[in-house]
């Protein structure tokens, strides 16, 4: 069977797409409320600190951000191609590296909490 890196790219893309669909709209709604000046109690410093301080909270935050970043990066790569930017290898490297950097930053910040 021919070797392919597609499963490695595709699995997190599909997982990320599902995570975005289920979680991101409601999270945007929460920060939108904060943007309008009604900060939900769950977004207060103490609540967020307690959530991000727990093991399950770290896991959820990292999972949502890392998978969403990866999925967005992969889709943005395809979108660049569709808009006529055909330097696919360069685009893929830049976007995947950006997603990896964002995921590592997320892990580092979480470990500081």
């Amino acid at each position: 069977m021919a070797k392919s890196n597609k499963p490695i790219i595709w699995f997190p893309f599909a997982a990320g797409g599902t995570v975005i669909a289920f979680f991101i709209p409601v999270i945007v709604l929460l920060t939108f409320m904060a943007a309008l000046g009604y900060v939900p109690t769950g977004l207060s410093y103490d609540s967020m600190r307690a959530f991000a301080g727990s093991g399950i909270g770290k896991l959820v935050i990292f999972g949502v951000i890392a998978l969403s970043l990866w999925s967005s990066a992969h889709r943005l790569r395809c979108t660049c191609y569709d808009f006529g930017l055909r330097a696919d290898t360069l685009v893929a490297n830049v976007l995947y590296l950006a997603a990896a950097a964002g995921s590592i930053a997320t892990a580092v910040y979480l470990l500081r909490i």
């Binding site: 797409g17 975005i20 669909a21 790569r77 055909r86 696919d88």
Partner: protein
């Protein structure tokens, strides 16, 4: 998803602009001449436009994820920093960005759940489970999950 699809769409559009996309050409005589404008092909058919609209949601979702990482950075840096982040969210640019991200994420969710019935059809015995039931179940789960998260966040 996008990559293969767009190449196939492009090839299909080159031969018969009005026809639905077909699988890539296999064999056949002579080279395939692609007269597809690389930057404007998606204006040729409403379905290509809807495809691109779905793809473009990733720009806003990706940017929003960056915002989340910045928020996490401020949370890790201590209370004054986090409070400053919450205040920064209230700028007009942030409110406009949130509206765009809200629209993009809801459009992504709806198209993603609509696609589930094609991506993972379920067969029970001889019959396939109706597609709308599969997508509908995802919508119900989405609504329930969103309500639980809003409740946990103290919205109500």
């Amino acid at each position: 998803m996008g990559e293969e699809m767009s190449r196939n769409l492009g090839a299909g559009a080159a031969r018969e602009p009005q026809s639905p996309p077909r699988a890539g050409r296999v064999g056949g005589a002579g080279p395939l001449i692609r007269e597809v404008p690389p930057t404007t092909w998606f204006f040729r058919h409403p379905r290509y436009l809807r495809y691109m609209a779905r793809e473009i949601t990733c720009i806003f979702v990706g940017a929003y994820c960056v915002l989340l990482v910045l928020g996490l950075h401020s949370l890790a840096a201590g209370q004054p920093s986090y409070e400053a982040f919450l205040v920064a969210l209230r700028s007009p640019a942030s409110i406009i960005f949130h509206l765009l991200a809200l629209a993009a994420s809801f459009y992504h969710a709806a198209t993603w759940f609509n696609a589930t019935q094609k991506a993972m059809p379920i067969q029970l015995g001889e019959e396939f489970v109706p597609g709308n039931l599969i997508s509908g179940a995802h919508y119900v789960a989405w609504a329930a999950l969103s309500i639980v998260i809003l409740f946990l966040a103290g919205v109500f």
